[in-house]
């Protein structure tokens, strides 16, 4: 599509109970968003393996989002706390790799927070558009 603006590809890991529901609620509320997002649904943010996140970067993601229920609200008691601990490790790795910190973001979004979800996607997309494609994106991938 010549002449159209570059659209980043953002991979979001969403937990089934909260943030995936938040994305649904955004849809039900018709909160318009850029078409940059690709959601990978997992049952719990505690299922999000740092390996999954790195894999997404290596495959070509311009940004990766780790999302789940608000702390204290995890459907599986405390999976999001475990996700948070793993996220801290990921943040450090992203820094080591020289990636801009905006390319990895964590957000707790409940199933009712459709507007928050949409605003988050708009904000991240705008940030990534400023940064341009990820330096880890393999040649020829889009």
């Amino acid at each position: 599509m010549a002449g159209t603006e570059w659209e980043p590809k953002i991979v979001a890991f969403c937990c089934n109970w909260c943030s995936y529901g938040g994305a649904d609620t955004a849809g039900m509320g018709r909160f318009q968003q850029p078409s940059s997002l690709r959601i990978i649904r997992v049952m719990c943010s505690g299922r999000i393996d740092p390996m999954h996140v790195f894999n997404a970067f290596l495959e070509g993601a311009d940004a990766v989002l780790v999302t789940g229920c608000h702390l204290g609200d995890c459907h599986y008691v405390n999976g999001n706390y475990k996700a948070q601990v793993r996220y801290q490790f990921l943040e450090e790795m992203v820094r080591e790799l020289g990636l801009e910190p905006e390319r990895l973001q964590l957000n707790w979004i409940s199933a009712s927070e459709g507007e928050k979800f949409a605003n988050f996607i708009r904000d991240v997309t705008a940030q990534i558009k400023q940064l341009g494609p990820s330096p880890l994106k393999p040649e020829g991938v889009n």
């Binding site: 590809k9 849809g27 039900m28 909160f31 690709r38 990978i40 393996d49 459907h75 009712s112």
Partner: protein
Amino acid sequence: MVKESSVKETEAADTPRIGVFVCECGVNIGGVVNCRAVADYASTLPNVATSVVNKYACSDAGQSEIKQAIKDHDLNRVLVASCTPKTHEPIFRACVEEGGLNPYLFEFVNIREHCSWIHMQDKENATKKASELVRMGVSRAQLLEPLQSTVVPVTNKALVIGAGVAGMQAALDIADMGYKVYLVEKNPSIGGKMAQLDKTFPTNDCSICILGPKMVEVSRNRNIQLMTYSEVEEVEGYVGNFRARVRHKSRFVDVTTCTGCGSCVQKCPIEVPDFEFNEGIGTRKAIYVPFPQAVPLRAVVDRSVCIDCGACIKACQSHSIKMEQEETFSDLEVGVIVVTTGYDIYDPEPANDFGYGIYDNVITGMELERLLNASGPTMGKLVRPSDVKPPKRVGFIQCVGSRDKKRNRYCSGFCCMYALKDAQLIKEKYPDSEVYIMYMDIRAPFRNYEEFYDRARDMGIKFIRGKPGKVSEDRDNSVIVRVEDTLTNNIYNLELDLLVLSVGAVASESSERVRQLLKVSRAADGFMMEAHPKLKPVDTTLDGIFIGGVTQGPKDIPYSVSQGSACAARATRYLAQGKATTEGITVEVDEDICVGCGICVPMCPFQALSLADGKLAIIKALCKGCGTCAVACPTGALQQSHFKNQQLFAQVRSVFTFEGE
């Protein structure tokens, strides 16, 4: 016990034959996404045997088409691109099962909430994205494996938390269907907020006169075990097999021998404001019976103000007062849980809510209920707080704490109606009085409610459409309200003897505690969230846990009672069947790879994992399939079925394409 299945067992090794069904959902998807183009694109993807467009995939016709295609094309995987799995995954899983496939060989792609509805002005990119989402789904579908659900037995008892009118109704209905119910109430008496009300709209019948007999019915029902002055402390388990620990607070009174005669209350020298039942207007003693119609009609001692004088002990002829009584605990095993924990009344802020807490004669709607009530602190004589004289001019301000972006955006629904009711009661008591209602809109939507509004107008109650700008106080403690009637553009300075704030409902702290205990989702307004706003209004996303009454959001008495009954009906399905099917998604261990390190064991919040003889053992019935442990496994031996690493990797990989692909 593993579910017996007659369906064709598809081995993971079979070459996938995927059927793709792209749903137009009328114009919901079809109006934005070119579904034909998406289906055509899908047909070019590997292992896609057929790819078609459905008008409505979930309709009877749509589902028949899917089942027929499974036969015609010998499909062993089905992908539907339509709406959200949160509502429709069970429908399509059942459909493919009926079509002869294992229900977990179904893949759902959301191109409505996550595509057509959020890219309504960008049809080209919406179509492109939908195609990519289908491509991701196809990659994942190739690797899906058949799973078996587990059927678990259900303990045929129910726990109802909160004994307001909704909880009482739920408990009575479940009990009448023949099942044992534990009804837990944190207060010393059941009855909830309804017990505090004077009259009820739109019939103006006495609240406690209709509630009282129901409270007695609850206490007499042989299937209901009432636990008042008790709170649920811990809950664990899953549908059919919940274990709850209930703390019974000390009443310092033996409920089995106390007769509720009140001799102790008469002798007690300590008198404090009664915040529990009379909104702080009247007083109660350190030992008190909550209210005359309380169930159980038993005394309770407030040890925080008791001076241990022993007067009550001497007065009690049944020797029921036990100052050494300690709190006790019960461990309950139940199959289902109904949550009817109710709400709090919005507490007006002195700085922002029309002088409440600053001027004596500004009160809330609930305080007015107690002032109007025949068994209230004034024996039903309406007086204003500053000089205890009957008010001649009374004003109501609507929507205090509700429909306000700075506080709560939602409408509490019942405040218009109770203001109309209280205004009528004041007019009936004092026909010469002037009553004003200052409102934004009057909301009177159900049977006889609009007629009730008409009646209020016919009685001469004056309606001013406007929210007051300023409230001040006169020298004689009258309240001066400055308000513009936006219908006539007149500005009034009303001099009132009594100003009533029509406050709404807010999520209660005790409800929030129970919500966190049970892990029920929270809606944006702070109340508990239902599984589906229309089709599952009393279910939660947790199997076997139901919510009713104002716990789920503000509503009036008939609606709360209906929801109580609805909870009972929904919950009793499990009790009547005696079994429940749990999710087939669990973790599984590859014993050849597992080194028995045990790192995963403490990861599991449900104690499903343990090490036995250096090997990992999984109790499948306890595993809830979150997959957290699988991340911790250093060897990759633990995998979460349906969300295996290879399945997720494949899905992520197909987000992207190489140039020329």
